[in-house]
């Protein structure tokens, strides 16, 4: 029952800067929710508001069914009474305390019995593979170990909700990969609700059960990683998630036959059959089609002819950039393949659901199947 509910949260820093704009979010018990967005979009502010370190200008926050903040009822429960754990970007460990002391400090402050504190700290040290480091000082630890100490300290009081603000930004790539697995495992072990802030879409996609994508204080989409990946709500979401990023091709569209849409550009002509419901568009409407790089295959029977612009093999996969007229398409081919630049190739699109956006509003208007003409 550790739900977090945000209702119409607005945060203004002064009259003109709105950091968070009318955000409503429901985070369910046991979820691993990532607040994802580019730098300065307000995600850390949201996390700080949940923790109680920042006051919203308007709106209500419920944790565990209890109201912890309301601008109308003038309620503001202080952070220490919200039963949430918080990890800062720079860990904020006490440099003058040993690892043991760092973890035990909060518990001792809460007047736990000495024996109970010892037991709990031992348990945490074991859980986070920190045995044998009890007597070291933070400066004598590596970045990953420091982070684990910070996590142990956060977990000490057994909070049901854990809030993390880019905890991995200071780690190197390999360590980050390891910590991702550790953190995901920790989520399964503790059954707590995680709220995690990051600007790294890969971290968000791999770890979370749900992602809320935020752009300049406005919630763009809230859903599971695959939903975000396969059914992006708008061009921003489609472009933000996925690496290499989605190919966005501009077309002018026209309704043909029943509900099909003929997409034409100077480079290619496609028939789009919507599967999410018919869409009426004006003749010559400006549309943008999103094609994920892995959905493009290079085959001899493809109807669209292009040239290899560059080929980047990495062993596991090869990212090939193909130039068709003035359009560049990135495609990912799995396996050890390499192409010479300038080689003429034909491409076709795999059988998948492709998102179609309105160029003017950026909103997705339909998902559908593609057929090359």
């Amino acid at each position: 029952m550790s739900d977090i509910i945000l209702k119409n949260i607005v945060k203004r820093f002064d009259k003109f800067t709105i950091a968070v704009n009318n955000l409503s979010l429901e985070i369910h018990d046991g979820d691993f929710v990532t607040l994802l967005g580019p730098s300065g979009c307000g995600k850390t502010t949201i996390l700080r508001m949940i923790a109680g370190l920042e006051q919203p200008t308007n709106g209500e926050i419920y944790i565990d069914g209890k109201i912890v903040f309301s601008s109308i009822k003038k309620i503001d429960v202080p952070p220490e009474k919200r039963n949430v754990g918080f990890i800062f970007q720079n860990y904020a460990l006490w440099p003058h305390m040993t690892v043991y002391k760092n973890i035990a400090f909060g518990l001792e402050n809460m007047k736990w019995k000495r024996s109970r504190v010892e037991e709990r700290v031992k348990e945490l040290l074991k859980m986070l593979h920190l045995e044998g480091f009890e007597d070291r000082y933070p400066s004598e630890l590596s970045g990953g170990q420091q982070q684990r100490v910070a996590i142990a300290r956060m977990l000490a009081a057994n909070p049901k909700i854990l809030l993390m603000d880019e905890p991995m930004s200071n780690l190197d790539r390999k360590l980050r990969m390891e910590m991702r697995m550790e953190l995901k495992n920790l989520h399964l072990q503790t059954h707590s609700t995680f709220v995690y802030v990051t600007h790294d879409q890969l971290e968000a996609m791999t770890m979370s059960t749900k992602i809320s994508l935020i752009k300049s204080g406005l919630l763009q989409q809230f859903g599971s990683p695959l939903e975000i990946y396969c059914e992006p709500a708008n061009i921003f979401v489609a472009d933000f998630v996925g690496s290499p990023s989605i190919n966005l091709i501009r077309f002018s569209g026209e309704n043909v036959n029943l509900d099909e849409i003929a997409l034409s550009s100077s480079e290619m002509r496609l028939i789009f059959t919507p599967i999410t419901g018919g869409v009426a568009i004006s003749k010559g409407a400006k549309l943008v089609l999103g094609i994920r790089p892995e959905n493009i295959s290079i085959s001899n029977d493809g109807l669209i002819k292009g040239k290899v612009y560059s080929s980047l093999p990495s062993g596991m996969e090869t990212v090939v950039c193909i130039i068709i007229g003035s359009v560049k398409l990135n495609c990912v081919l799995f396996g050890r393949i390499d192409y010479k630049a300038g080689k003429p190739v034909a491409i076709s699109f795999k059988d998948d659901d492709y998102p179609l956006f309105d160029e003017e509003t950026g909103e997705r208007i339909a998902l559908g199947k593609l057929e090359t003409v």
């Binding site: 026209e254 309704n255 043909v256 036959n257 029943l258 509900d259 099909e260 003929a262 034409s264 002509r269 028939i271 059959t273 419901g277 018919g278 869409v279 009426a280 057929e371 090359t372 003409v373």
Partner: protein, 565 residues
């Protein structure tokens, strides 16, 4: 705002210029008058000093009146302390107060000073001059010069200032009002544009819904529909039509040169029919045989606009896959001729022998008996055939779910074994029976069970040459009753197996004419088994015999108990 300020700059400058000009005019006028006054004062001073030298008394009314006459203006004489001593003007007007203009020390120092006083709607320039009399008394002499135009000038100046101010205020006020009206107008515009946006969104949603609805209906149609325009171009085609004609979606791409080059052959044939129909303006119905052996029924209609009467809109083609229907029709036709033939054969015999019997006196008893016997056999055969036909058409109405009761099928089968055995003996066939010893219960009716078993057994016996073997086995298997009829007779060709349960189907007409039969037996069995909720399967090899297996669901104990309760 900027433009307003800029445009206001010119009139404001002009206004300020006018005000400054008016002040300048006044000062010029004043200085002119002053010059005159000073001149006059000098004349007076000279006169006074002359008079003093002559020993005339200065502070006498006559002297002052004379001075006034010389200067042609009002002259007053004050004491050194500023008290009015003598005034040339006797009308009693207010005296010009010297201290309002000059202070005493300055006056005492002999400075000539002036001031402007206002009296009786008239401005005066007062010139003061100080001099000492012989007996150490000091006097101040004042001459008041009327400023005749000063009033007018002041009036002009005032009206300039007032008018300018009024103009400025009106301009600002007007600008304010104008701005307000403008802003309210823009609010109105944004409001109405918001309303428009909402309206467009609603229309969009509605259009999407309608498209989805029509597409769903058209996509779920059993037959294909193609709508052709007046120029024979394809306006619309539902997915069924696409799959039946093999047309790709790419056909719909607009503005393509010679789209007909991409048409599949079926579509080209349809297009030809459409052209015919369009030129004759008549409905056209035709079957089309495709290359892959399908038969498509094409129905082409002329379409008139629903909205503009008598306007030719195009043609629409309905495409229905009738391969199966045509095959069934063919079978039915064959059956009808077959059945009529089968019915006629015994009837011919019966009527023939009946005719013979009419002249029975010429026949001996043996022949009569033979004729009667044949009539009997043939009428029985006729009866059997007709009852089979009736059975077939009545299976569904005879056994409804309500007429089913729990029965013991094994017991029922046992009761008809003797009949089948008799038949097999007649044909010299080795008939073996394996019946389960335990009791079984199924939901059904006895007549159906009898018919199923006897039909299968009769068939087996019929299609097995003499000396062959036929096995009937009835066993319980899990929750099913399995009836198995196996023979080593002539078998069924593999290609015919899928069709043998069809109503009017007969394997090789030639082999049936010898053995008789209506081609209905197996379809009756199939119908009955279906009604009892079971299934029938067949394994067969030509010349090696066939095995028919019927599975019927056994009645579970709990169900019966539940029912009795």
């Amino acid at each position: 705002m900027k433009r307003f300020i800029l445009s206001m700059l010119v009139p404001v400058c002009a206004f300020i210029f006018l005000v400054v000009l008016s002040f300048f005019c006044i000062s010029v006028y004043k200085s002119e008058v002053q010059k005159q006054a000073i001149h006059t004062m000098e004349v007076l001073d000279d006169y006074i000093s002359k008079a003093k030298a002559n020993g005339e008394s200065i502070d006498s009314r006559t002297f002052i009146t004379r001075l006034s006459e010389i200067a042609d203006c009002r002259v007053c004489l004050f004491s050194g302390e500023g008290n009015l001593l003598i005034d040339s003007d006797t009308t009693g007007s207010k005296d010009p107060d010297p201290y309002s203009a000059v202070n005493t020390t300055e006056t005492k120092n002999g400075v000539i000073s002036d001031s402007i006083s206002y009296q009786d709607n008239q401005h005066f320039l007062n010139e003061f001059s100080y001099f000492k009399s012989d007996n150490a008394n000091s006097f101040i002499i004042c001459a008041s010069f009327p400023l005749s135009r000063f009033n007018n000038l002041l009036l002009i100046q005032k009206s300039i200032i007032l008018g300018g101010c009024i103009l400025l205020i009106t301009a600002v006020l007007f600008y304010g009002l104008w701005q307000k009206a403008l802003s309210s107008k823009t609010i109105g515009i944004t409001k109405s544009s918001n309303g428009l946006i909402n309206k467009i969104k609603k229309i969009e949603l509605y259009a999407n819904e309608r498209i989805s609805l029509l597409s769903t209906v058209l996509a779920n149609m059993e037959s294909g529909i193609i709508l052709f325009g007046t120029d024979c171009s394809i306006l619309m085609m539902n997915p069924k039509a696409q799959s039946l004609t093999g047309a790709k979606s790419s056909l719909f791409f607009p503005h393509r040169p010679n789209p007909e080059l991409e048409y599949p052959p079926v579509l080209i044939a349809i297009l030809k029919m459409v052209r015919n129909s369009m030129s004759s303006k008549k409905t056209l119905i035709q079957d089309l045989h495709t290359d892959d052996g399908k038969i498509l029924s094409i129905h082409i209609d002329i379409v008139y606009s629903k909205y503009i009467p008598y306007t030719f809109y195009g043609t629409q083609a309905f495409i229905t896959d009738v391969t199966e229907k045509r095959r069934m029709e063919k079978i039915k036709d064959e059956f009808v001729s077959n059945v009529s033939h089968e019915l006629r054969t015994p009837l011919t015999l019966i009527s023939g022998f009946a005719e013979t019997l009419q002249d029975w006196r010429e026949l001996d008893d043996k022949d009569c008996e033979r004729a009667l016997e044949i009539i009997d056999i043939e009428s029985k055969r006729l009866k059997h055939m007709i009852s089979q036909l009736l059975d077939l058409s009545h299976i569904e109405s005879r056994i409804g779910a309500n007429n089913l009761v729990p029965i013991d099928p094994i017991e029922t089968i046992r009761s008809i074994i003797s009949t089948i055995q008799a038949l097999s003996e007649k044909r010299n066939i080795n008939f073996k029976i394996e019946l389960a010893s335990e009791k079984a219960e199924i939901l059904g009716d006895k007549v159906s069970i009898v018919q199923i078993v006897s039909n299968l057994c009769e068939n087996a016996i019929k299609y097995t040459p003499s000396g062959g073997n036929v096995l009937l086995s009835v066993q319980k298997e899990k929750n099913h009753l399995v009836i198995l009829v196996k023979d080593n007779g002539i078998g069924i060709p593999e290609s015919e197996i899928p069709h043998i349960f069809e109503r009017f189907y007969r394997v090789e007409k030639s082999r049936n004419t010898k053995r008789g039969g209506s081609g209905l037996g197996l379809s009756i069995v199939k119908g009955l088994v279906d009604e009892l909720g079971g299934d029938i399967s067949v394994k067969s090899r030509l010349h090696y015999g066939s095995t028919f297996t019927v599975h019927l669901p056994l009645l579970c104990k709990e169900v019966t108990e539940g029912k009795t309760k």
